[in-house]
């Protein structure tokens, strides 16, 4: 095998600029990006099922119809359930959130008081003295300003989820045909490398999306089970929220941890052992996640150097807010694969020569040359 050169600064620069542009566009059409991403997840999850049905003797078209029909039913039920839940309990959620935020703040206050007792030096710290007021203001602001808006946004987005089974149907039915159609338009000289590019993108996306789903399931189950054993309320819902928050590297885990501690501190305000137990449980699951679950599920797909990951998270947040935070690494991964393969194609002198030769032959054939 020929040793291919590593991507240089220019390739990375182009990759980062394209990633930012895509995130900017994604933020504008987020209502379409969310169903689009779920479609990809659905496509990769359901493809093996369609193949199994085909092997049992069903025609491909019928198998796709059966599978997407089931998906449509499940999505409809899910959307109806979530909409009715959201409209019935939206007001209650506000109060519950405020309650838990207050519980977290009380815990912080108590911890502070204990620290001050043991370390008198802290009494003089201006930061410690001002913290409760600042956090109080922040919690009021969060509940009043952001939570309501967030709930309205979720209710607004839910109907667009009905697009998921529709798009998944066409991806399963015609995805391969469309790919072949695109590849057919590529000149012969670049054909094999283009196939390689499609394969790399497909594999990266598949392992990342499927891996993330498996990872979320494992995290939810472990954390939910652990919290349930510790007697925390809504343990599995809390586990799910923390697992989803962990999609945002580094920052997501910290927010998830704060959330778990906040709920534990509200449920058991005077039981420090349970609160610290939750903290230890969360840290143990993060360690398990990094060293066992992550290599087993996502593997090394779409993983970058920590410095690049953190820088891109800041950039993603600056360009597209929360959506940017969540999407920046998968988008960067796919764009990196595409730009690197394109660089290899465009800088391969042998391929370019072959392409020029084929064009020369074409001209000779048509009598232009």
């Amino acid at each position: 095998m020929r040793n291919e050169p590593q991507p240089g600064i220019l390739t990375w620069g182009v990759t980062i600029v394209i990633t930012c542009l895509i995130l900017y566009l994604f933020e504008r059409v987020l209502w379409l990006v969310v169903p689009g991403l779920l479609t990809l997840v659905g496509y990769y999850c359901l493809q093996p099922l369609v193949r199994t049905l085909v092997r049992t003797g069903l025609k491909h078209r019928t198998a796709v119809k059966v599978v997407t029909g089931l998906l449509f039913l499940v999505t409809c039920l899910g959307v109806i359930l979530l909409l009715s839940l959201a409209s019935a309990r939206a007001a209650g959620w506000k109060a519950v959130t405020a309650h838990y935020v207050q519980g977290g703040l009380d815990f912080m206050g108590k911890t502070e008081a204990r620290l001050e007792q043991k370390l008198p030096l802290l009494k003089r710290s201006a930061l410690v003295q001002s913290t409760p007021t600042n956090l109080d203001a922040a919690s009021e602001q969060f509940v009043e300003k952001y939570l309501g808006g967030l709930l309205v946004q979720i209710i607004y987005w839910l109907p667009s989820l009905l697009l998921v089974p529709y798009l998944t149907y066409f991806m399963l039915q015609d995805g391969n045909r469309l790919k072949k159609h695109v590849i057919r338009s590529v000149p012969n000289a670049f054909f094999e490398k283009t196939l390689l590019l499609f394969d790399r993108v497909d594999r990266s996306l598949r392992s990342f999306l499927i891996g993330m789903m498996k990872l979320t399931f494992l995290d939810t189950t472990c954390l939910g089970l652990g919290l349930w054993l510790l007697g925390i309320s809504h343990s599995f819902l809390l586990g799910l929220i923390a697992a989803v928050l962990a999609w945002v590297p580094y920052a997501g885990s910290a927010v998830g941890c704060a959330l778990v501690v906040m709920v534990a501190a509200t449920d058991f305000p005077n039981d420090l052992a349970t609160i610290y137990g939750c903290l230890v449980l969360f840290i143990c699951i993060r360690i398990l996640d990094d060293f066992v679950f992550l290599p087993l599920t996502v593997g090394r797909s779409l993983r970058f150097h920590p410095v690049l990951s953190v820088s891109m998270l800041f950039l993603g947040a600056a360009v597209a807010g929360l959506a940017g935070l969540l999407l920046v690494l998968p988008v960067l991964g796919v764009v990196a694969v595409i730009t690197e393969t394109l660089r290899q194609i465009l800088t391969d002198e042998r391929l370019r020569k072959r392409y020029r030769h084929a064009r020369q032959l074409q001209r000779t054939m048509t009598g232009i040359g």
Partner: protein, 162 residues
């Protein structure tokens, strides 16, 4: 539900499957297996004298000739001595299905040629999900590799006759 990509659908699907069945590599496969395999095959057309792949390229897949003729040219003496030429139904580049290595020869179309390409990673994924197709294809591919290796060995003057 009518697909918006209907224009992509090859009208003579059944005829295509029949044509695939005629190819020596696929003659053992059933119609259902051929349909599954057909999803992975890429059709390409080459002009006379056009290079299909070059010696030293990273081999990524196998080519099956649907029409036309292909000449193999190599800097390796043994291969050059044989100077193989392939016609309709033959296939070449099969070693690329088994390992990612350099092509040992150049393949050039001797006349306007149509080929089907089977990409290694797609072939491997097919083997993983349908062992029935895998066994049939691997059997034929192995037989061809053995036959070609034997031919190469017998043409080496310094090697004993096998």
């Amino acid at each position: 539900m009518k697909s918006p990509f209907n224009f992509l659908r090859i009208s003579a699907d059944d005829q295509r499957i029949k044509n695939l069945k005629r190819l020596s590599l696929f003659k053992r496969l059933t119609a259902r297996e051929l349909r599954e395999l057909d999803e992975l095959l890429h059709e390409r057309s080459y002009q006379k004298d056009e290079v299909i792949f070059d010696e030293g390229d990273t081999g990524l897949g196998l080519f099956i000739i649907l029409s036309g003729r292909v000449k193999i040219i190599s800097s390796h003496a043994a291969l050059q001595q044989l100077a193989p030429e392939f016609g309709v139904g033959d296939y070449f580049g099969e070693l690329a299905l088994f390992e990612e290595s350099h092509r040992t020869a150049r393949a050039v179309a001797l006349e306007p040629t149509q080929v089907l390409a089977l990409f290694r990673t797609e072939f491997v994924s097919l083997l993983e999900r349908d062992r029935g197709i895998g066994v049939k294809l691997l059997f034929d591919l192995s037989r061809t590799v053995v036959r070609r290796s034997r031919k190469l060995l017998m043409n080496q003057p310094h090697l004993p006759t096998v």
